[in-house]
């Protein structure tokens, strides 16, 4: 036993030794592989690597692609790239930054804002050896002065680069958005390969929405440089691919006109081609100059704009959410009559005051004493509130929600509008979740005149108007017209299913009521269509902001502070028999929809329908 165990131990020892010997051979073989590899790199390929490294360093320099251009529907440039000389500093090569900047101020005009912005960028995380811009758009004279002094200015560079320009400035600031320098946070998130050599990135609007395709693909060149970084020889080069050009549905002239019409106001205008869903105009005012984002916003101006109560950075057309007010009436009226909750002949007369059964609260009409006996056509023409209080009460919430949903309220139906707000098309569950209360009959009554919980953006309102003009046929509301990048043209035909009425004749009749708003004897906007060589249809809306004293026509009696005045709304489409354009106008605290918003719409329709045809199409 003892013997056997000893034998066994000896056997195990020998087994281990043999295995260790095998391991030793494997270790030796692996060692040889390493030595061979090092020998190959250091002895055989030494000269090649020496050339790459030693005095003539091999560098891979990215070549920034040209950002795609943006045009309007007639081929007018909306965003382009212009050459600019930029003064920048490679911080790693500077010993005393303050002294250098002081020296530069002797040569070139530099504002305190520019110096401050430079220091802010200096202290942010960035790619090592990346030049930090100090001043863009140098003049010829400044370039010459800097060139003459370049030996005394270590680390200073003057580079020619293409920078983004928005020739139409403020008018397109919200819809196009803008590019700005890549900031610290973006730098950490984006793909360094795709953005090699690129300093700008789309931040808002179309520039952001289509960033990936506008960007293009960076090229690179492999260069030999000497110790001072001068390029001696380009070894190999891959050209960059320019970004895709975008042709938008926007109409430059119409957009500019809309922008001018909102001069001095706060508001938004959205116009759509009903047949295609193409967005012709998307304006928000007040605005800002997007070019300042490219060249660097002076801090004082930026702070002033940011803190302004008028919120110029807010895109009211897509992010501003307003009560639809009376502009909602044709939509609810259509839903009500088609759903059998009222008829074209039924009349009501509440003498200007509507009450729910067993509820003392009085829902007043905008007109004291009411409008007399009115049917649905009258109710839209004259914007009779009590008729719609009653109709909404008859319908209850769900059918109203349903028809509004079919018209695209409360959701995003746009294809490529950047970051739109969705508004609110309320449901019982929504109110319970949001406010913790049940839905009351009174809420439905208020909804009947587009007040209360419902909110819409001007964009949604314009889309709904376009679908109304189309007799319920949907399209995909979008900014894209066409692009040389085919993949962008893969756009669904419809954003959602067409609206099917129980009685198709109701389309013609509801259209008639909207024409009566402009042509009827009592139409709320009867003065607006006067003399127009085309026929159009519309609806006014006046959204209450606060309880204020009103006269018998609903107009404010006293001098009311601006921010408490009503919002003025107007929706319209034209020509009535074959709609080419549908639009929504919202003027914040503008007063009455018929007096303020409707005339703006008229001027826009004139511009679009009556101007000399452009030769582009």
């Amino acid at each position: 036993m003892q013997n056997h165990s000893l034998d066994n131990k000896e056997y195990e020892r020998r087994l281990f030794q043999r295995r260790m010997l095998v391991a030793l051979f494997v270790v030796a073989a692996m060692l040889l592989v390493l030595i061979a590899r090092l020998f190959f790199l250091q002895i055989i390929q030494h000269e090649k690597h020496q050339a790459l490294s030693d005095n003539n360093r091999l560098e891979v320099l990215p070549i920034a692609p040209i950002r795609g251009l943006i045009y309007d529907r007639n081929g007018e440039l909306l965003a382009e790239n212009l050459p600019s000389h930029t003064l920048s500093i490679v911080a790693e090569r500077v010993d005393d930054m303050d002294a250098l900047l002081a020296e530069l101020r002797q040569l070139v005009e530099l504002s305190d804002d520019q110096i401050e912005l430079f220091y802010r960028r200096l202290n942010q995380y960035r790619r090592p050896h990346d030049p930090i811009p100090l001043k863009v758009k140098l003049s010829e004279e400044e370039i010459a002065v800097l060139a003459a002094n370049r030996y005394f200015l270590k680390g200073v560079q003057v580079e020619a680069e293409l920078i983004r320009q928005y020739p139409h400035g403020e008018a397109f600031a919200h819809v196009l958005g803008y590019v700005g320098r890549i900031n610290e946070q973006e730098l950490q998130e984006l793909d360094p390969g795709a953005y090699a050599g690129i300093r700008f990135i789309g931040k808002q609007g179309i520039e952001r929405e289509y960033e990936e395709v506008l960007l293009g693909k960076a090229g690179y060149q492999r260069v030999e440089t000497n110790a001072r970084g001068r390029i001696l020889n380009v070894l190999d080069k891959q050209a960059p691919e320019p970004g895709a050009n975008l042709h938008l549905q926007l109409d430059r002239a119409l957009q500019q006109k809309a922008f001018d019409l909102l001069e001095g106001k706060r508001g938004a205008i959205v116009a759509i081609e009903p047949e295609t869903g193409g967005i012709l105009t998307l304006v928000s005012r007040p605005s800002f100059d997007p070019n300042l984002y490219v060249t660097g916003f002076p801090a004082t101006l930026y702070n002033q704009l940011r803190d302004s109560p008028d919120k110029p950075f807010l895109n009211r057309a897509t992010r501003g959410q307003y009560p639809a007010a009376s502009t909602i009436k044709p939509f609810i009226g259509l839903g009500g009559v088609d759903g059998g909750y009222t008829t074209w002949t039924k009349t009501t007369d509440y003498k200007g005051e509507f009450q729910l059964p067993n509820d003392p609260r009085i829902y007043r009409d905008w007109k004291r004493g009411g409008h007399g006996e009115t049917n649905l056509t009258d109710a839209i023409e004259e914007s009779v509130d009590t008729y719609f209080y009653d109709l909404a009460y008859q319908m209850t919430l769900e059918p109203i929600h349903n028809i509004l949903d079919q018209f695209g309220f409360g959701k995003n139906t746009t294809w490529d509008v950047y970051n739109p707000a969705v508004g609110i098309n309320p449901t019982r569950d929504w109110k319970k979740d949001r406010h913790g209360f049940s839905w009351y009959a009174g809420d439905t009554v208020n909804l009947g005149i587009g007040q209360g919980y419902m909110l819409t953006t001007p964009t949604q309102l314009a889309i709904a108007t376009a679908v109304m003009a189309n007799e319920g046929t949907w399209m995909t509301p979008r900014l894209m017209l066409y692009s040389n990048d085919e993949s962008l043209m893969d756009i669904p035909e419809k954003a959602q299913p067409d609206i099917q009425l129980n009685n198709e004749e109701n389309w013609a009749r509801i259209h008639h009521t909207m024409e009566e708003v402009l042509y009827g004897q009592k139409g709320t906007a009867r003065h607006v269509a006067y003399d127009a060589p085309y026929r159009f249809a519309g609806k006014t809306g006046t959204a209450q902001v606060a309880e204020i004293q009103r006269d018998e026509n609903g107009e404010a009696v006293d001098d009311v502070p601006d921010h408490l005045k009503d919002h003025a709304l107007f929706i319209a489409y034209a020509p009535a028999e074959n709609p080419k354009i549908a639009l929504a106008v919202v003027v914040e605290n503008g007063g009455g929809g018929s007096s303020v918003a409707a005339p703006i719409a008229r001027e826009l329709l004139d511009e679009y329908l009556l101007r000399e045809p452009t030769n582009a199409e």
Binding site: E12, F16, R19, A23, L34, R37, H49, L52
Partner: protein, 376 residues
């Protein structure tokens, strides 16, 4: 000299009166080699960190801690490790589970366990020692060569930490830990048939690994290895720059502190994982060969200690620690010179960084314990 080197650990030399080194349980040659390696490594680190004495000082503190741990660990008889192997293993597994639940880390990986204000460590480091100890204990219980059911048992013991570390995810470390366990089974006399079929199976499962196990960033690293020029500014940058650094060093290098690649910041991670590129650039082929010779001497010394081990447990454990150490060297140099994908393995005892130095020196402490506690 050489014969003395080999003989020192032989049983004969520990006859009646044990010498000074044996009394303090330090293997003299191993200790000497480790000291030389540490000192040389610090010279390279001084250059790689751009002449930063702070980095060198912090590194020497870590070596101090590491050598102290080595000295303490060497005092215990190997029997002690045999007894506590199961507990060590279970604690390690518990920590690994904890790290997946509450661990913290960067870039989507959870590797660190933090007890705020007390300590911050990677539980996978414990497993680098716990796995070979556990495997050596388990295999040596049943005698050599291991039978099939014990091989399967060992495979399960190995699979648990492997899968847990893979989840962090840390493919490099999990593979290295798996290797340390496989070495134990191999040294125990795993039959060649099983080894051959294992290799065939391993190669066969590569496509499956590619499709289901590897994460995107791991695939990128592998693809970059084959064609670094495909993305010269992104993923290929490290490889291109480290190959250039190594190659431009030539036979005798550019001289201490004169490597342009490393001193001009072309070489990323120059003081951690890629430090061998700094050595190669500044001291050339000759410098790397000296370093490799040091590593080989340590490995051979470890093999001698393993072969002279008093029982199966000691031999298997010492063998596994030694071979794993070599694998670290191989993987690091292979990855920096563009033979292997970049997996984040530091160069043992040279790269800047605390945990790996302490773990490695603790492992050498176990080797010294085995070498200096001969007879019960």
């Amino acid at each position: 000299m050489l014969s003395d080197f080999v003989r020192h650990a032989s049983r004969d030399s520990f006859s009646a009166t044990p010498g000074f080194w044996q009394r303090i349980h330090v293997d003299f040659y191993l200790f000497l080699l480790l000291l030389v390696l540490a000192a040389g490594g610090m010279v390279v680190l001084y250059s790689a960190s751009g002449g930063d004495w702070g980095a060198v000082t912090r590194q020497s503190v870590r070596f101090g801690v590491g050598f102290l741990a080595m000295f303490i660990v060497a005092q215990f008889d190997p029997r002690w490790y045999q007894q506590w192997s199961g507990a060590l293993y279970l604690i390690g597994v518990a920590f690994l589970i904890a790290v997946l639940v509450v661990g913290s880390g960067a870039k989507g990986a959870q590797r660190w366990l933090v007890i705020p204000g007390v300590i911050r460590f990677q539980p996978s480091e414990i497993m680098k020692l716990a796995v070979p100890v556990m495997m050596a204990w388990y295999i040596s219980r049943y005698g050599l060569p291991p039978r099939l059911k014990h091989i399967l048992g060992a495979a399960i013991l190995l699979a648990i930490p492997f899968v847990l570390i893979l989840q962090q995810p840390d493919l490099g470390t999990s593979l290295l830990i798996a290797a340390s366990g496989v070495f134990v089974i191999f040294l125990a006399g795993l039959s060649w048939k099983i080894i051959a079929s294992g290799i065939v199976l391993g190669i066969g499962s590569l496509p499956l690994m590619w499709m289901f196990v590897l994460r995107d960033y791991q695939k990128t690293r592998i693809l970059t290895l084959f064609n670094p020029e495909s993305d010269p500014l992104g993923a290929g940058w490290n490889i291109i720059q480290s190959k250039t650094a190594i190659g431009s060093g030539g036979l005798d290098g550019k001289g201490f502190l004169l490597g342009t690649q490393s001193q001009l910041d072309f070489l990323p991670e120059s003081h951690t994982d890629f430090i061998i590129a700094v050595l190669s650039e500044e001291f050339g082929f000759i410098g790397v060969m000296v370093l490799l010779a040091l590593y080989v001497a340590i490995v051979i010394r470890g093999m001698v200690i393993a072969t002279r081990g008093r029982d199966n447990f000691c031999r298997l454990l010492a063998g596994s620690i030694t071979l794993t150490f070599f694998i670290y060297v191989f993987v690091n140099i292979g990855m920096v010179s563009g033979l292997l994908p970049v997996v984040g393995v530091p160069l043992p005892l040279v790269s800047y960084g605390g945990t790996s130095i302490v773990t490695l020196l603790t492992g050498f402490g176990i080797l010294m314990s085995i070498s200096t506690h001969q007879r019960v």
